[in-house]
């Protein structure tokens, strides 16, 4: 019947195509084809400056090691992330570095990498519970500590005697952001201060503004406030200004992330400080870890349970804001 006439040739073409394929599994699984090590980097989205810097850091570190560098852009799409990262493994990369658009889609990628003996280093975002070799994240707790140390110093410089400070947190599901607050709290309490209010602004500017108004109403003597991201930090600073006070010299207001609006605010005295991540250095760190994983050397983790390696962060104030891009 007609069905045969149409589908038999189609299937036959498909079979021929596959028959002509070479089985790359056959020759030495997992071993590099030549001496040159090939690293594949699957990046979240090259449209964003953060990931452009991360790509630059990764590429330059890989090239410096004499490795061949292959880039894949996930374009903020989990399907493209899985397809492209698996394609890198198919192309025979020796090690895979990935900043995952959806950490929960790391599973099929790492399953394939494991089957081929390819180590996987995750750069930022999250690990999604998959058995990656290591994940590089910014030192969020360390960033919180930097913020606390700066705040204590600035409060003293402001001549304030109040030991009351506050923090505005992100939503509870933002695990990494919660570490910023934990790091801040520990360090500021060690400096003899008391966190009188610890309220969630759900990462949003408008909620950060509202929360800050509440904090000032209930604690008129609050001397400083730390926000776990910059939208909330800038909004809190605006609330301070709207209350007729100065966010640097009256209530020391600190954000986190070095977003462009935060940097602008710091330049104009509208925010005291923020904490900058360093994606270029994060990229370089993943390459170092990739080398260690390839050589089966032990990796020193900041948090061994989750195989996390922390990358240092930088405090940004009016003094150094001009050097931050």
């Amino acid at each position: 019947m007609m069905l045969k006439k149409v589908f038999v040739p189609l299937v036959a073409v498909g079979a021929l195509v596959l028959a002509g394929c070479t089985d790359s599994n056959a020759d030495n699984p997992g071993a590099p084809k030549d001496d040159k090590i090939v690293v594949g980097f699957s990046v979240y989205d090259m449209q964003y400056e953060f990931f452009q810097k991360m790509e630059k850091g990764t590429r330059e570190a890989a090239t410096a090691k004499g490795w061949e560098f292959k880039l894949h852009d996930e374009k903020s799409d989990e399907n493209e992330m899985v397809t492209g990262a698996q394609a890198l493994i198919d192309q025979g990369v020796d090690v895979l570095i990935i900043s995952p658009f959806k950490p929960s889609a790391l599973g099929p990628i790492i399953a394939k990498a494991k089957a081929k003996g390819v180590p996987v280093i995750v750069d930022d975002i999250g690990g999604g519970g998959a058995p990656y070799d290591a994940i590089v994240i910014s030192d969020n707790a360390g960033g919180g500590k930097l913020a606390a140390e700066y705040m204590a110093k600035q409060i003293a410089a402001n001549g304030k005697t109040s030991k009351n400070v506050a923090s505005i947190t992100c939503e509870p599901s933002a695990v990494y952001a919660a570490r910023r607050n934990a790091g801040f709290k520990e360090a500021i309490e060690a400096a003899g201060f008391k966190v009188v209010a610890e309220l969630s602004g759900n990462s949003k500017a408008e909620e950060g503004y509202k929360v800050m108004k509440d904090i000032m109403a209930k604690n008129p003597d609050v001397a400083g406030v730390f926000s776990c991201n910059d939208p909330m930090g800038v909004a809190a600073a605006n609330a301070v200004k709207d209350a007729g006070k100065n966010p640097v010299t009256d209530i020391v207001t600190v954000g986190f992330n070095a977003d462009p609006e935060a940097l602008t605010a710091i330049k104009g005295g509208g925010l005291a400080a923020t904490v900058a991540q360093d994606p270029t250095a994060m990229g370089a760190l993943t390459v170092k870890l990739a080398g260690q994983a390839l050589n089966k050397e032990a990796i020193t983790f900041g948090n061994a349970a989750e195989r996390e390696v922390f990358n240092p962060v930088l405090l940004v104030t009016k003094e150094n804001v001009a050097t931050i891009k």
Partner: protein, 338 residues
């Protein structure tokens, strides 16, 4: 161009271009025909291909289903919830049932509330996505890594005689769809209705039943596609496959199915889906930046339709009859009317 050559181009033109591209592929990408890469391309093309088969029916009947992206997200999310609750069987049933339900909602809106398909499915695109977002408010639904050995995960990863299972499912879907469109009275009704709804109605074809059939079929195809999608990607939320509907429609149109309705070619759709996947694979492996990839794919669509338009304009008189009967120039068969 004479009629038979034109007819041949209608069905096999895009397939010829696909074969040409396959011949060039190894030159551009030396690894193209490595088993891994070929399998990846076929595995990746399945979910798009399966929905494109369903969409071929919709477009041949003179309608669009713009909601398939929302349907895919919702089917994927519900299926993953089904897996968490009751394992593989429930996950499969949940995906198919959700797809079917989405199709019935669309058909209901179109026939009962008399909303044009374009508008109705544009609305449900947002509604289905919205529901998927609500279901994943606490984060995307996922297949945990420890489920790696489950039969459900195997749907996306298994190979049958060297062919990836999603692609085998796609082949089966196209086999079934081809029989349905070309060898049954229902298929001929779809084409007749697409050619001329009025004439079809005079022949006793029920517009309501036809709409329900077509949109349920699209929904079911999305349900099947969702299974091959989530077992490959392992995660879904409301944002899954944003813009999917346009990729599907582009593939169907590239394959040669007329947007005016009344003409549908599953072989063309099948080849167009593979063409898009192969082209995409080549562009990605060449490190072409994503913005240029989009431009190339858009350009291919425009060139293909331009060629098709030129061909139709200079085609032999047979094309007119084809357009009217939707029968590829053959004599309409008895059985068109009930």
């Amino acid at each position: 161009m004479n009629t038979s050559l034109g007819k041949l181009w209608d069905t096999w033109g895009i397939t010829a271009i696909l074969l040409l591209l396959l011949a060039v592929a190894p030159v551009v990408t030396p690894d193209f025909f490595s088993l891994d890469n070929a399998q990846s391309v076929l595995r990746e093309s399945a979910y798009l291909g399966i929905v494109a088969a369903g969409m071929t029916f919709a477009i041949a009947s003179g309608a669009f289903d713009l909601s398939v992206g929302g349907q895919l997200a919702l089917c994927s999310v519900v299926s993953l919830m089904g897996y968490a609750a009751g394992g593989t069987a429930l996950a499969v049933a949940a995906a198919l049932a959700t797809g079917l339900a989405c199709g019935l909602v669309n058909a209901g809106l179109i026939t009962r509330l008399r909303v044009p398909p374009f508008v109705a499915t544009l609305g449900t695109l947002f509604v289905f996505r919205g529901v998927a977002y609500i279901l994943t408010q606490d984060g995307p639904k996922t297949l945990p890594y420890d489920q790696i050995g489950s039969p459900f995960v195997k749907i996306g990863g298994l190979n049958v005689a060297g062919l990836p299972l999603p692609f085998v499912i796609m082949l089966a879907v196209y086999g079934g769809a081809w029989v349905l469109l070309r060898r049954t009275a229902t298929g001929r009704r779809v084409l007749a209705y697409g050619s001329s709804p009025e004439a079809a109605r005079f022949c006793g074809i029920s517009a309501t039943r036809l709409r329900f059939f077509v949109f349920a079929l699209v929904g079911l195809s999305v349900g099947i596609a969702a299974l091959t999608y989530i077992t490959r990607v392992w995660t879904a939320d409301g944002s899954a496959q944003d813009g999917f509907e346009l990729k599907v429609i582009a593939a169907v149109v590239l394959g040669g199915t007329s947007l005016k309705g009344g003409k549908g070619t599953l072989i063309g759709t099948f080849s167009a889906v593979l063409l898009v996947s192969v082209l995409n694979d080549m562009l990605v492996s060449q490190g072409v930046p994503s913005a240029y990839q989009r431009i190339v794919l858009g350009g291919v669509l425009i060139v293909a339709l331009t060629i098709d338009g030129l061909r139709t304009r200079f085609a032999a008189p047979g094309s007119l009859r084809r357009a009217v009967t939707g029968q590829g120039g053959r004599t309409p068969r008895p059985g068109l009317a009930r």
